[in-house]
Amino acid sequence: MSSPACKVTDIASLIPQRSPIQMVDRYIFEDELNCQSELTINEDNLFLDELGYMSVEGVLEHIAQTSAAHIGYLHRLAGKTISLGYIGDIKRCAVTGQMPAAGATLRTRVSVVSQVGNVTLVSAEAAVNDSPILSCRMKVAED
């Protein structure tokens, strides 16, 4: 494995999603089971409501793409190509804080709980200014 806390900003090298639904700016590898990511929310983000706040769905997409980026990063280390990933399910999702507005930076920590074949179960927590806003479990399936 490479050195800890390796940061990747060329997100297109890790996930197949592109603008206008690329929802990760920076991916930070910690170890095989853990990573973090950041997204600075632009004014034209797809998931902003009429009042300018991000929807819960937007935060969930950010978590899904963080998980996909982690899987993509591990594939890249193993010399494999990246694949399309889909959300299999979302469980134990609790909204615990106010959704961020444009200009804010969303930070997410993702930990791999288990993996069977092409399905990875992660536990995730998203925060804004170090305050947790949402936690959930999610399964990401690769094609």
Partner: protein, 79 residues
Amino acid sequence: MEKDEMIKKMVAILADEFEVEAEVIQPEANIKETMHLDSLSLVDMVGLVNEEFGVEIKTPDLPTIKTFADLYDYVFTRM
């Protein structure tokens, strides 16, 4: 942890997570059929075993774990 104690804990956890009666979790019963597991919920089971017992079930080993007795043996020998 004794094996009996481990089995008791496992049955309680599985029954709760997969919403089945504890009575249907018999040692010789088929895991997937009893708890109606598919490829997604199988990952939940593997995650649960890892979190609750600190045992990581490896993907290549999964086909050998068919019954609950197989699961108990696998987990107990690795705890």
